[in-house]
């Protein structure tokens, strides 16, 4: 196994993009990320003590808590967190708007890095990993499995943003499809009204799934740093609008911030973790978002 590179998570995603192999990339980022967490409360969470239960025949006598037997004279067996494997499903938006790139790295690529890193992290914790790519429909589906890590990476690698997207239909299908509760990671740029986004996302929560939402945005989408008057073409509809950026930049920035704030607020109201990712920033924010969510998932168990 290759050694992880310390601080790789802080590396500019555009530089990371030079690593052609998603698994290698994810490993570099995640291992570096984990090694950098000194005394991380999350490390070894899977082998931490969770609870006692009464000994039944067949249990491994090595797991008997002898101290408790000395105090209570009853046999109890320790149960550990490592035993609580879960399904991790990545819902990956491959609508055409995800192909936008202002700095060389498209949102789709950035999202793929994030997804790969998360998948690697989950896989490393023995979680079952699956993926669903979608635009207006389901594009690819890899059911969660401990053995599907490679397929997940392959699906990510193969993902192309070619068609317009819409959240409601594919997410509805996903909600209907998943019967077992698990962790859902939704990665999209959410170019829909916040209410529509919530309407599309809420069904995913019905089965008790934990939902982490990553909102991927390019810096140009946030600050609208264009200078010259141009015709702007909507990547998904193809519509062109003459725009003088200077004249509407402030207004645009205000609107996108309101949009992000509205999404954040609405997701929080529904106990959905929301993280806005700027493709110009390193990947660690996404990993923190995931792990904090994972922690909460364990605590509420």
């Amino acid at each position: 196994m290759a050694q992880s590179i310390p601080g790789a998570r802080f590396v500019d995603p555009a530089i990371l993009a030079r690593i052609g192999n998603l698994e290698l990339l994810a490993r570099q980022v995640v291992e570096g990320f984990i090694n950098g967490l000194h005394r991380a409360p999350y490390f070894g969470a899977s082998i931490d003590f969770a609870e006692h239960r009464g000994y039944v025949a067949g249990d491994d006598i090595r797991r008997v808590d002898w101290r408790l037997y000395a105090r209570t004279d009853r046999y109890f067996v320790k149960q550990y967190e490592a035993d609580t494997n879960t399904n991790v499903n990545i819902l990956f938006d491959v609508s055409r708007s995800m192909s936008f790139a202002s700095r060389g790295l498209s949102k789709l690529e950035y999202a793929a890095f994030v997804a790969a890193c998360l998948a690697y992290l989950a896989h490393r914790q023995r979680d079952r990993v699956g993926i669903v790519t979608f635009d207006t429909d389901i594009v690819a589906h890899v059911p969660p499995s401990a053995k599907h890590f490679d397929m997940v990476l392959h699906t990510l690698d193969r993902a192309r943003a070619e068609r317009p997207g819409a959240l409601a239909r594919p997410l509805g299908l996903v909600a209907e499809h998943f019967k077992r509760r698990g962790l859902l990671i939704l990665i999209s740029d959410f170019y829909e009204e916040p209410d529509a986004v919530l309407d599309a996302v809420k069904p995913l929560r019905f089965l008790g799934n934990d939902l982490i939402v990553f909102h991927v945005l390019d810096p140009a989408e946030l600050d609208f740093g264009f200078e010259d008057a141009s015709s702007f073409e909507d990547l998904e509809s193809g519509e062109q609008v003459p725009v003088v950026p200077e004249s509407l930049r402030a207004e645009y920035r205000r609107m996108i911030q309101e949009h992000v704030a509205a999404l954040s607020t609405r997701f929080s109201e529904h106990r959905i973790d929301y993280t806005m990712l700027n493709t110009a920033e390193p990947l660690d924010r996404a990993l923190f978002g995931y792990l904090s969510s994972r922690e909460r998932l364990l605590r509420v168990r």
Partner: protein, 684 residues
């Protein structure tokens, strides 16, 4: 500042292009892909905002570059004064050609010409040199290559109209030679004249090379009305032993209006003789004949004056008349036949210009004194007179006399003294076969036969010759005519100052019938005139002619010449050339043996008749002929501001090169700035 191609300044409208591009072009050209326009669409579209220029620097550079390039192509040049141009390094050498021909005295042309010449001098910078050339028929440097402009202007003021005819060729050649020696970068000539067409034939070999400019300054006002007396004719008649002269004056009206009742006055020796009035139609000539007057003295001065107009010089015509002097001829015959000299003497009795005084003497009665004062001696079919002999005859000829030897049966010449004749005389010869011969060959190049050269000017071949004396011409003899059998009909030999002609057949009707032919009289007259070396006296000369006063027989004493202006010129007897450059009467006083002649010789000098024709030539045509280039603009010429040389013109127009370079540099800078801006806006 002005522009050579001002129309190209319309290209400045191209400045609007970058402005429009800055305002509207960007949005048309670029399409920016954006993930979603859901927010953009919510913002009201403000097209007015689009018209705002953002990159003022770029816009200014682009507009500036276009303006500079357009200005460069419009070829700006600095319109500077000549002095300022000189200060810029282009010193000039100027030659002012000032026409002082007689026609410049027409109206106020001369005053205007002087002012134009002064203006040309004043256009010079302080250190620039100029030469003043006054010209008419000839050109002379009045002041050579000086920077003393005040003296030049003074010389122009002192110059006066002359009497010469206009000839542009010598003046232009002189200007060319002066300018050719000048090291100045700008070499210019200014021609101030009335541009008479008669002054330029087009065949003059006067050319300005590259680098020299000729600027015409016409001072004529287009008015050509002029009355002139270009000629006079004199009819001589003898009345009561006195010679009477009838003077006819020729007059010409060069104008477009008729001249009516013009008084024409004849004056002789300062006294008005008669005045007549005449009307002359426009563009025509007329003549006036005055009443005859008696001419008794030599060197009688006459003047004809006609009317008065803007050019008075050609309204006067001077002449000098002398009583006609007949050619004295001694005809010596044998005396045996009374009619042998009849035809000859009768032929010589006819004629007034000149008249002939003929004395016929038999050879036996000739005495040496009879040879004195004779112009021509004719030995008509006779031996050499015993009293005269060949020695006195030879002396007579060597002094300038003429000897005509007419050979016949009785002619003989001493065998041991044949040096006077042009050949050896042979015996009488009859043409072979009993036929007659005629004069087949005439030397038309000889003065005797020159008048018969033209067709129908006398048929010498009509005469039949039955017999002649053979003549074997000597090497130094010139055969004038031959019979058609090849025998010599006439031959000449020059001896000393005189001439000897031998005619090998008789001049009566014994050997030929020439005396019966119409050509006889002019032939005899021509032979006698030639032998007498007769020159018809000229009653007047033309300005510009040169006379040789040291003619033989005129004496070798000191001569004092008084010009019409009153100047006195003293000449010794050896050098007698006199250029007649004034109109009027020259007096020539000779010291002949310690006493002055009672009545001095007079020479009348008149204007060249061509000078009276004031019709002008187009100055541009003359300049084009001289320089091979078009003339300078008329306005510039009128201002007497000579055009700059090619080098100076190029220097004054060199501004375009700097403008173009600046424009290109601005474009390059614009490219750099635009690249930087576009790099900063790399999403676009």
């Amino acid at each position: 500042m002005s522009f050579l191609n001002p129309l190209l300044l319309l290209g400045l409208g191209a400045i609007a292009i970058p402005i429009l591009v800055h305002l509207i072009q960007r949005e048309r050209k670029r399409v920016v892909a954006f993930p979603s326009l859901m927010f953009v669409r919510r913002i009201p579209y403000q097209s007015v905002r689009r018209r705002r220029v953002r990159h003022w620097l770029l816009l200014a550079m682009r507009a500036g570059a276009i303006a500079l390039i357009v200005a460069a192509f419009a070829r700006p040049f600095l319109r500077r004064s000549a002095a300022a141009a000189a200060a810029g390094g282009g010193s000039r050498e100027l030659v002012v050609l000032l026409d002082r021909s007689a026609s410049m005295g027409y109206g106020d042309r001369w005053q205007r010409a002087q002012e134009a010449a002064r203006q040309a001098i004043r256009s010079l910078a302080g250190d620039e040199r100029a030469t003043l050339v006054l010209f008419s028929r000839n050109a002379e440097e009045n002041m050579r290559a000086t920077t003393d402009h005040a003296r030049l202007e003074a010389a122009i003021g002192e110059a006066k109209v002359g009497a010469g005819a206009t000839r542009y060729g010598p003046a232009i050649k002189l200007a060319e030679s002066i300018l050719a020696q000048s090291p100045a970068p700008r070499r210019e000539a200014v021609l101030v004249s009335d541009f008479q067409r008669s002054g330029w034939s087009g065949s003059e070999d006067a050319r300005f090379p590259e680098g020299m400019t000729l600027t015409p300054v016409p001072v004529g006002d287009g008015e050509t009305a002029n009355l002139a007396v270009p000629s006079a004719a004199f009819q001589r008649a003898s009345f009561s032993g006195q010679e009477r002269i009838t003077v006819s004056a020729g007059l010409s009206n060069k104008g477009r209006d008729p001249m009516n009742d013009v008084p024409v006055t004849l004056s002789i020796d300062g006294h008005e003789i008669q005045t007549q009035r005449v009307s002359i139609a426009p563009g025509t000539s007329a003549s006036v004949t005055f009443t005859p007057f008696t001419l008794t003295e030599p060197n009688v001065r006459g003047t004809i004056r006609a009317g008065d107009d803007l050019l008075p010089a050609d309204n006067v015509f001077h002449f000098v008349l002398d009583p006609s002097a007949p050619i004295s001829i001694l005809v010596v015959d044998s005396g045996a036949d009374a009619g042998s000299s009849l035809y000859l003497s009768e032929a010589l009795a006819v004629g007034s210009t000149p008249a002939f005084a003929v004395d016929v003497v038999p050879a036996a009665r000739v005495v040496p004194e009879q040879l004195n004062g004779r112009s021509v001696i004719v030995l008509n079919d006779t031996p050499v007179p015993p009293a005269a002999g060949t020695g006195p005859l030879q002396a007579f000829v060597e002094r300038g006399g003429g000897l005509l030897v007419v050979l016949g049966d009785r002619s003989s010449w001493p065998q041991n003294d044949a040096t006077l004749l042009p050949g050896k005389v042979g015996p009488p010869t009859d043409p072979p076969g009993g036929r007659v011969v005629s004069i087949g060959f005439r030397d038309y190049g000889h003065e005797v036969f020159e008048i018969f050269k033209a067709p129908r000017s006398g048929d010498l071949t009509a005469a039949h010759v039955f017999r002649y004396r053979a003549l074997e011409p000597s090497p130094d003899a010139r055969v004038l005519a031959r019979f058609d059998d090849g025998a010599v009909a006439g031959a000449e030999r020059r001896v000393g100052e005189g001439r000897v002609i031998v005619w090998t057949s008789t001049l009566d009707d014994s050997w030929n019938d020439l005396a019966l032919k119409p050509v006889y009289l002019p032939l005899v007259h021509q032979i006698v005139r030639y032998l007498a070396q007769y020159r018809q006296p000229r009653s007047w000369q033309t300005v510009g002619q040169v006379l040789d006063l040291a003619e033989p027989g005129r004496g070798t004493g000191e001569r004092v010449i008084v010009t019409p202006a009153g100047d006195r010129i003293t000449q010794d007897g050896e050098t007698g050339l006199l250029e007649l450059d004034q109109q009027g009467i020259y007096e020539v006083r000779r010291d002949e043996g310690g006493r002055d002649a009672a009545r001095p010789q007079a020479i009348a000098v008149n204007l060249d008749p061509a000078e009276s024709d004031l019709s002008p030539i187009d100055p541009a045509e003359l300049v084009a002929s001289v320089t091979g280039r078009a003339a300078a603009p008329a306005a510039a010429a009128a201002a007497a501001a000579p055009e700059a040389t090619r080098e100076d013109a190029e220097r004054r127009q060199r501004l375009w090169w700097y403008l173009l370079t600046a424009g290109m540099l601005l474009l390059a800078a614009e490219m750099v700035v635009a690249n930087r801006l576009s790099r900063r806006e790399k999403f676009l």
